[in-house]
């Protein structure tokens, strides 16, 4: 706990310094959402992001494989026809559900691709905030055991 607090303090100090020296503006720092990333369950994270219980929307597409050959690298991407302001990727069965979140300024496409770790087969959620409202889609990704297993 102490350790955590210290690193958090250090963290804010770095941000503060960067902001004050004008390296990044306060608005764009979008300070790392500690509470959201430490939220365990989907609901924890939904609540912290202010997403409540987001509506399933066909306007949101999650690009992820049906089977991942290895859980250490699972490619995930979000595309949407909505005008996204914010997007998030959640893995239901990971120890902390939120994997990553993104802030999309005007002029940037509503599209992102990254790679995440999955401990086991799980539902993966793509969340998109557009016009102040959260939308989502879900897909199961199977994580397989591979190789010789040693």
């Amino acid at each position: 706990m102490n350790q955590q607090r210290r690193s958090l303090l250090k963290y804010s100090a770095v941000f503060g310094l960067m902001a004050s020296t004008g390296l990044i503006s306060v608005a764009q720092a979008q300070e790392w959402n500690k509470a959201a990333f430490e939220g365990k369950s989907l609901d924890d994270v939904f609540k912290i992001l202010g997403a409540g219980s987001p509506d399933k929307s066909s306007a949101v597409t999650l690009n992820a494989p049906d089977i991942a050959e290895n859980g250490a690298v699972v490619p995930v991407g979000i595309t949407t026809t909505l005008k996204a302001e914010q997007m998030a990727i959640l893995v239901e069965k990971n120890p902390s559900a939120l994997a990553a979140q993104f802030f999309i300024p005007a002029g940037t496409d509503s599209f992102v691709t990254t790679r995440i770790k999955m401990g086991q087969t799980s539902n993966v959620y793509a969340l998109v905030k557009a016009d102040g409202k959260w939308n989502m889609t879900v897909k199961e990704v199977k994580v397989t055991l591979g190789g010789c297993g040693g």
Binding site: P65, I67, E69, A72, P75, G146, G150
Partner: protein, 271 residues
């Protein structure tokens, strides 16, 4: 009893064939899904991060002689890196040995930079001097990407290495009776969901030799061919093959020569 058993087994076999047809679909779709997964991660190979570091290390003075590796002769003349990896292993007159990329780089580090090869041999993979070696390998093999694999056995020592490598490929040992051939001598086989190339044929050898060194997503590491072979032997439950030892070079020679005509796709991106 013997006859009854045979009969039982025969019926079993027929029945197995019947169930096999029903499982073929599931098997096929899982394989297709894995192919899709590989396609999705193909763009953005983290090997690139190692290549950049390797290029710096190639050009940076180091070792007791404070020299760069820029005059290293990888077989195409001093300082020629482009295309060199596609023609390794090969015989080198100055050492009077057949060398693979990594053993040759050790020679260059020793001769040009004054470094002790034993330190490299003894270092664990991914750490210390090996970490530098791995980055340099990433840099060198990238400069052969797209070239045809072209390995010669014209020199008697090259031919001898090839023959020794072929024999080593089939050499069984350890508590599981494994040889390289246990997994890599038949077409269309897989271990779990991973396809196993048949390295005894050109096509399979090119699929194996042509894609290593590679970034392995399961370990998040860039693996040289020496590390790849090392881990094969670990999984075969053999003792530890010494870094740059003749068995590793002989096997490389056998694989590379069999793969001749295939394309260098290194650095690959593997599970």
């Amino acid at each position: 009893m013997q006859r009854k058993l045979t009969l039982g087994l025969a019926t079993g076999l027929v029945a197995t064939l019947l169930t096999m047809t029903s499982s073929v679909y599931a098997q096929k779709s899982a394989t297709d899904d894995i192919a899709k997964y590989r396609e999705m991660i193909a763009d953005g190979n983290p090997s690139e991060l190692y290549e950049a570091a390797g290029e710096d290390l190639w050009k940076k003075p180091a070792g007791p002689k404070n020299a760069t590796l820029e005059k290293c002769d990888l077989g195409l003349g001093a300082g020629v890196v482009k295309g060199a990896a596609a023609q390794l292993p090969r015989y080198f007159k100055d050492t009077n040995k057949v060398q693979d990329l990594e053993s040759r780089l050790m020679t260059c580090m020793q001769v040009l930079q004054g470094r002790d090869p034993q330190e490299m041999i003894d270092a664990p993979f991914q750490k210390g001097p090996k970490k530098d070696m791995e980055a340099i390998v990433a840099y060198v093999v990238t400069l052969s990407k797209g070239d045809k694999i072209k390995v010669s056995t014209a020199h008697p020592k090259e031919k001898e290495m090839y023959d020794l490598g072929k024999r080593a490929f089939f050499f069984q040992g350890g508590p599981m009776d494994f040889s390289c051939a246990s997994c890599h001598a038949e077409n269309g086989k897989r271990i779990r969901l991973q396809d196993l190339p048949n390295i005894t044929e050109q096509k399979g050898a090119a699929l194996g030799w042509g894609y290593w060194p590679a970034y392995r997503v399961s370990s998040g590491q860039f693996w040289t061919m020496q590390q790849r072979l090392n881990d094969c032997y670990r999984q075969q439950r053999f003792p530890f093959p010494i870094y740059g030892s003749d068995v590793t070079i002989a096997l490389s020679m056998y694989m590379a020569k069999t793969a001749n005509g295939g394309t260098v796709e290194t650095p690959g991106l593997k599970r």
